[in-house]
């Protein structure tokens, strides 16, 4: 188990190198704005641009730029300066991370709560009306693009423009100061972001639960005369939930890595996803690179967590 973890960690670090190199390359060949010209400003002379290019290290060959960058990252945890904001990228990301974490954590709680309970109910009442209705509804949520769902929900429920003024609207998170205000501002984004995922989890949970409930030990538990409730919650749930763990880890990882960008865009949440999108449109290479590394880190990290959790939860797959 220990060797396995160490190996996974080392491979994860190697992966960060590869990923950053790939991203470096892609954004290097992009026909994007020249950061030196951007920094220098409209009336800057060629001399001035050259000086800035030199200071930014943009006049060096790409591999030198990459190695320098990697050296700073791994030796000094320094992700460089944003071309766009002239502040350390690390600081930018840390500034934006709380909003994304707010978004993701709330959504995770909602989608787990809804997904798992709907999944269990559907599995227990298999082929009932409830089951069919919830599975069909879940398919509808899976089929709706999250950005459209967000816009529709704003149109219907936002306090400023909604037809039913229930939830805080776009951009309210930025101005929220207390925890309650923040949670209030996040409610609608949480629900929207959680919708599709909750639907997917419900379907998985249902499948997994049906599988589990067919196992011998469940029959044994029933035969012992345990109440059905206990059988389901104590015996069934525990092993049925194991495959879900994999999903949680991966989904949280990719969301933190910037995949919440669509939700952040629609609800105007100043998170990492939005920062990333701005950085891309600004050719802010150091910021892009920084977010990518952070994102890849999250993905690698959560993959690792998943593997370990999985080995812990299900002794059958324990690694040696």
């Amino acid at each position: 188990m220990f060797r396995y973890i160490v190996r996974r960690i080392l491979w994860g670090i190697a992966m960060l190198f590869i990923v950053s190199a790939v991203i470096f390359l892609i954004f290097y060949i992009l026909p994007s704005a020249d950061p030196a010209v951007l920094r220098a400003g409209r009336n800057a002379g060629p001399q001035q641009i050259a000086a800035i290019r030199h200071v930014l290290g943009l006049d060096k060959p790409i591999y030198v730029q990459y190695l320098r960058y990697m050296r700073d990252v791994f030796l000094h945890f320094n992700f460089g300066y944003s071309y766009q904001y002239s502040v350390p990228v690390r600081q930018l990301i840390f500034n934006r991370l709380p909003a994304t974490i707010w978004l993701v954590i709330g959504a995770v709680i909602i989608w787990l709560g809804i997904g798992i309970s709907v999944g269990i109910i559907s599995a227990v009442r298999r082929r009932s009306f409830v089951d069919r209705a919830s599975m069909t509804t879940s398919l509808a949520f899976i089929s709706a693009p999250v950005f459209w769902l967000g816009l529709v929900s704003l149109y219907l429920f936002a306090k400023d423009i909604g037809r039913f003024k229930i939830f805080d609207g776009q951009g309210s998170f930025a101005g929220a100061s207390t925890v309650f205000e923040k949670a209030g501002a996040m409610l609608l984004p949480w629900l929207v972001l959680a919708a599709a995922t909750a639907a997917i989890y419900a379907r998985y949970m249902r499948a997994s639960m049906i599988d589990t409930m067919g196992e011998d030990y469940i029959r044994t538990a029933r035969a012992k005369g345990l109440p059905e409730r206990t059988v389901i919650l104590r015996h069934g749930l525990r092993s049925a939930i194991t495959p879900i763990v994999t999903l949680i880890g991966l989904d949280v990882g990719t969301l933190l890595a910037g995949n919440a960008i669509l939700t952040e865009t629609v609800f105007n949440i100043p998170g990492v996803g939005r920062l990333l999108y701005q950085a891309i449109s600004q050719s802010d290479l150091t910021t892009i690179q920084g977010i990518t590394l952070f994102g890849a880190f999250f993905i690698v990290f959560f993959n690792l967590v998943v593997d370990i959790a999985y080995a812990y939860l299900d002794p059958r797959v324990r690694y040696s």
């Binding site: 026909p31 994007s32 704005a33 020249d34 010209v37 951007l38 920094r39 220098a40 400003g41 409209r42 009336n43 800057a44 002379g45 060629p46 001399q47 001035q48 641009i49 000086a51 800035i52 030199h54 200071v55 930014l56 290290g57 300066y81 944003s82 071309y83 766009q84 904001y85 002239s86 502040v87 600081q91 930018l92 500034n95 934006r96 400023d160 423009i161 609207g169 776009q170 951009g171 930025a174 101005g175 865009t265 105007n268 100043p270 939005r274 920062l275 999108y277 701005q278 449109s281 600004q282 050719s283």
Partner: protein
Amino acid sequence: MRSRSRLFGVFLPGLLAVVSIGLAACGSSSNKSSSSGSSSSGGGSASSSAVSSEIAKFPPLVTAPASAKKGGDLTVLANGDVDYIDPGAAYYQPTYMIDLAVDSPLMGWPPNDTAAPQPLLAASAPTVTDGGKTITFKIKPNIHYSPPTGGGPGWSKPVVSADVKYAIERSLMPGVPNGYTTLYFADLVGLAQAQAAVKKTPTKAPNLTGITTPDSSTIVFHLSKPSSIGLIDALSLPVSAPVPAGYAAKYDAKTPTSTYGQHQLDVGPYYVQTYQAGKEIVLARNPNYTAGSDFRPAYLDKITVQEGFADENSAVRKILTGSGMINFDFDATGEALKLAAQQYPKQLTLTPGGGNRYIALNVTKPPFNNINTRKAVIAASDRLALLDTRGGLLSGGLATHFIPPGIPGYQQAGGAAGPSDLDYIQHPTGDMTLAESYMKKAGYSSGKCTGNCTVTMVSDNTPPGSNTAQVFKAQLTALGFNVQLHPVEHATMYTKFCSVVANEPNVCPNVGWVKDFNDGQAIIDVPFNGGTIAGSPTNNSNWPQLNDPAINSALESAKYITDPTQRAAEYGKIDDMIMAQAPAVPWDWDYETNVNSTNVIPVVNSFNSLDDLAFTSLK
């Protein structure tokens, strides 16, 4: 330079640096006489016709009402961030909103004065000697620095003249990427040597021998040419706000960028208390500021710039329906403008932005190297449809030439109607018959383009710029052209295509120019002076690449005209000369559409057409 994100699309927030590129305000105004702007203060007087009637419904205040009272917090909603919080590098009109409140350059602009800068850090107007080659300032005594941004030990010594010298010197460092010093301070003695020195040691501010400080309250500028007027104007820009070398040098030594901005010391009535890039800027009262030491009344207690309001419509709606809010770097456009104008007319102000938008036709390449083809394109263009992509006639005036309302030369160039002798600009919705006749003159016997009619167009990839491009594409297609439209990010559009001489496409539909000062030169010199093309192959602002000797020499000599009337007439004439070459389709004289909550009394500073934070108050 005034450019707000509406120029860059509603979808992408924070296109800051872009701004300094896009519509950088950069015309030099070195020879502008001190009275040249007086005819156009506020912006209404120079306008006429239907355009002025729309704009007149939403006039801005340019002085604080007598009833204005002290106190209260203001929230400024922003789409993106400032370009540079460091006053030495700031070059973005909304950033000037902050700089006007926190910095004290030698000279400054009260909201109601567009004619000439007034003394701010300077104790009085400068003394000009040596035939305009030596300028001497005395600075006010006992000015103290604010606590630094972000906290920490500050700088207790009072402001001395050497601090101003250092502020200008550091702006030559690559870590303080200032876009205008080399332009405005070009005639300063010792500039070239200083530039050479900084190239060698990029982490140390060079010594500018042209600036001397005989004593702690005196600073003297030595010029190689008698261009004192331009220099005095330039000293109203934030670059001359004092920066003590003893405090800042350690931050300036950082590579690749100076971190002084995040630890800056201010001397205005406010100071930058905290700065979180892309998120929030908090301005608080400067505890070390002596009230009444300059012309800024500073009513508000605290100003918070909240960034990240990517959707301008919702931000505008929030401002209109909320309390204690104004807008920062975005305009009310489209739906939001409609909402404000129809339901909250008292909370909307329209100010001529002193800028234009045009569609540049590359005159160096076929098919637009033929003047008749260009005239045909202008004749065919439905400029009202183009204007509709930005929100119709409330968003800007229908342009017929380049100098916009509010800038001397506008009337002389034809006013709202445009040059009367040019038939192709007379039809706001286009005239296909006329266009076809020009196409015939250009050699296309059918009146439509035949043969190799492929033209490339590089545009914004977000609305409204992308919409403008699509509408114009349809208009070109109607003339028989096969348009290949490449939408890219706004910044990329400039730095990789439209501003790179070798890469320039046939059509750049999303370009424009905004004044820095109220002067015709500031509008038409840089973007149409053919002499500038060769010197900036990758940073060219003459997008049509118009290089007409007559225009070039006219622009050159107009710089030295000091009589305001004569100067305005001359620039009006040059504007007409440019229009006669048909290098571009002017279609928008942009308005600044500022909105405020009901309890805010906004005062617009004509310097940048935005609300002046030091004059704005709450009811």
